[in-house]
Symmetry: C2
Subunit: 307 residues, 2 copies
């Protein structure tokens, strides 16, 4: 089952995909079910009831015209991993604990859904706005002190994650802070693929394309800490919640293509990485899952706006 | 106006204090108002309508028997500042940017309200569970690119914050991550004092007591970055939201008392700091605001629990 979150008349809604582009609007065929994916995952047998409710129903809505939201628009927590791919550790030259996953937190307002624009900061604020293609894990059943071998019992599914980063802000201090939390700087989608359909991500790849050109392409078994290890680690500290999302970290850059004249970028002088600019299209694909695509738009000028 | 959030029959509710212990249950006298403080702050003239609704009403509920929640139980973001007091920078010997506030994120489940127990991790998980007395700023009106001199127009009020930290986890990697996000490890309350009543926090002090003994006592004008500067900084990155909370950082420890035999604790060997243990009572006072008190309880044993 592939599940989308979308906005309809100001309300968060759930859809279940029936084809490449079409989906069933769950509120229309099963108005008794929770209307948000987080609430559905937190309800008893939520995914089973969803599957039963949409069985045999035709997909009458289109991804192209829907306003897609982040797979979970209102999670309790969005965790992200720093330096979890060996190739990314090597290219940055940074050191990270081999004992404990390196985690930080993103806020919901820093995320958008599939097809929605990412906002590139004005150049006077920052110039290094970067993609990071990642696997997203979405928690289904909450739990504490979850053993590694039980971790998959707590996963609802997976998605593609673009962990968009504003590098100048990320490196201002020890904690990444605001650099990982610019408004609409990251994305997750297009949908949640349930774990029964996707299987173990170890056998998949993550691929990032900027304007159609591959910039990252790596197997998901190159991670320093596996999905199960990270779930175990986080659940040592708190009771994981239905709808919590974990972005599993990004791999290293592909080398520049023959004849391509790319300068190394960022404070770590990474060759093959490219900053995002307004007008770009960025895609994160997880093989066997789908492609998360976002246009990049210029954020508004630096001017005081009160709500 | 002093406003509390509390739980009643599984629902989040708002109360307005009428005495040292008594409060008006807003849902009883004004059921048309939003039932959560975040929603109230986000509604047009929310605080004005609240003030009008409770004017002249008697406080029929007691703090002692209420289940108090964090001042904002469901914020979009809880920001906290690292190394924002000169005395704390000195005692740790750490370096932080003098240009950019050093911020990180806490999750809602890491927080409890006044009088609710903080959970001390089992010794097999961590032994260094520490208080950090801080001023909390609660955003009222959202905004982007807020000038320092307009910052107070965006503040709903202030509260006391105990930014409880699990030191071993905080120092595992560059980002504090899970070390600032253990379940029920921090607290905020007892209430929000509106900015019109509290004025500028620069003239107040923050005091932390463990089992009645003062361990921190510092003026709030010793901050490296002021409330206005931090609001300006965060709003460069995203549109601050009604109910967002900012914990302004903790001051240094008071020296041990004459005759007191305290060993320096933690990796920074801070003299005068004391780890929290089950059975302790920890209090954070902001002068002119109130006292946030929490008992410390042992968290459950390390055992797999599935929800």
């Amino acid at each position: 089952m592939r599940i989308v979150s979308y906005r309809d008349n100001g309300q968060d809604r759930i859809g279940v995909m029936t084809g490449a582009d079409s989906f069933v609007a769950v509120a229309e065929v099963a108005p008794h079910l929770p209307h948000s994916l987080r609430a559905l995952l937190g309800s008893s047998d939520g995914l089973v009831r969803l599957r039963d409710a949409v069985a045999g129903k035709a997909g009458t809505h289109s991804l192209k015209t829907a306003h897609l939201l982040p797979v979970i628009p209102d999670p309790h927590a969005i965790w992200a991993l720093a330096l979890n791919f060996k190739t990314h550790i090597e290219e940055t030259g940074l050191v990270t604990s081999k004992e404990y996953p390196h985690v930080f937190v993103r806020t919901p307002l820093s995320m958008v859904g599939h097809n929605q624009p990412l906002l590139c900061p004005p150049p006077s604020v920052a110039k290094q706005f970067d993609y990071e293609g990642e696997l997203a894990v979405i928690i289904g059943k909450g739990g504490r002190h979850i053993p590694v071998e039980k971790a998959f019992d707590h996963i609802a599914g997976f998605s593609c994650f673009n962990e968009g980063s504003v590098r100048e802000y990320q490196s201002q201090n020890r904690n990444f802070g605001l650099g990982k939390n610019f408004e609409r700087s990251g994305s997750v989608g297009p949908w949640l693929v349930t774990v029964d359909e996707f299987g173990d991500p170890e056998n998949r790849r993550v691929i990032t394309r900027l304007n159609g050109i591959e910039r990252q392409n790596a197997p998901l078994n190159d991670m320093l800490f596996t999905v199960g290890q990270v779930i175990h680690f986080l659940s040592t500290g708190y009771t994981l919640q239905p709808g919590d999302m974990i972005a599993m970290g990004t791999p290293g850059a592909l080398p520049p293509y023959p004849g391509e004249n790319l300068a190394p970028i960022g404070r770590h002088k990474i060759l093959g990485a490219v900053n995002m600019k307004p007008g770009d299209i960025v895609e994160v694909e997880i093989t066997g899952l789908g492609v998360l695509a976002n246009p990049v738009a210029a954020d508004q000028d630096v001017a005081y706006r009160s709500q």
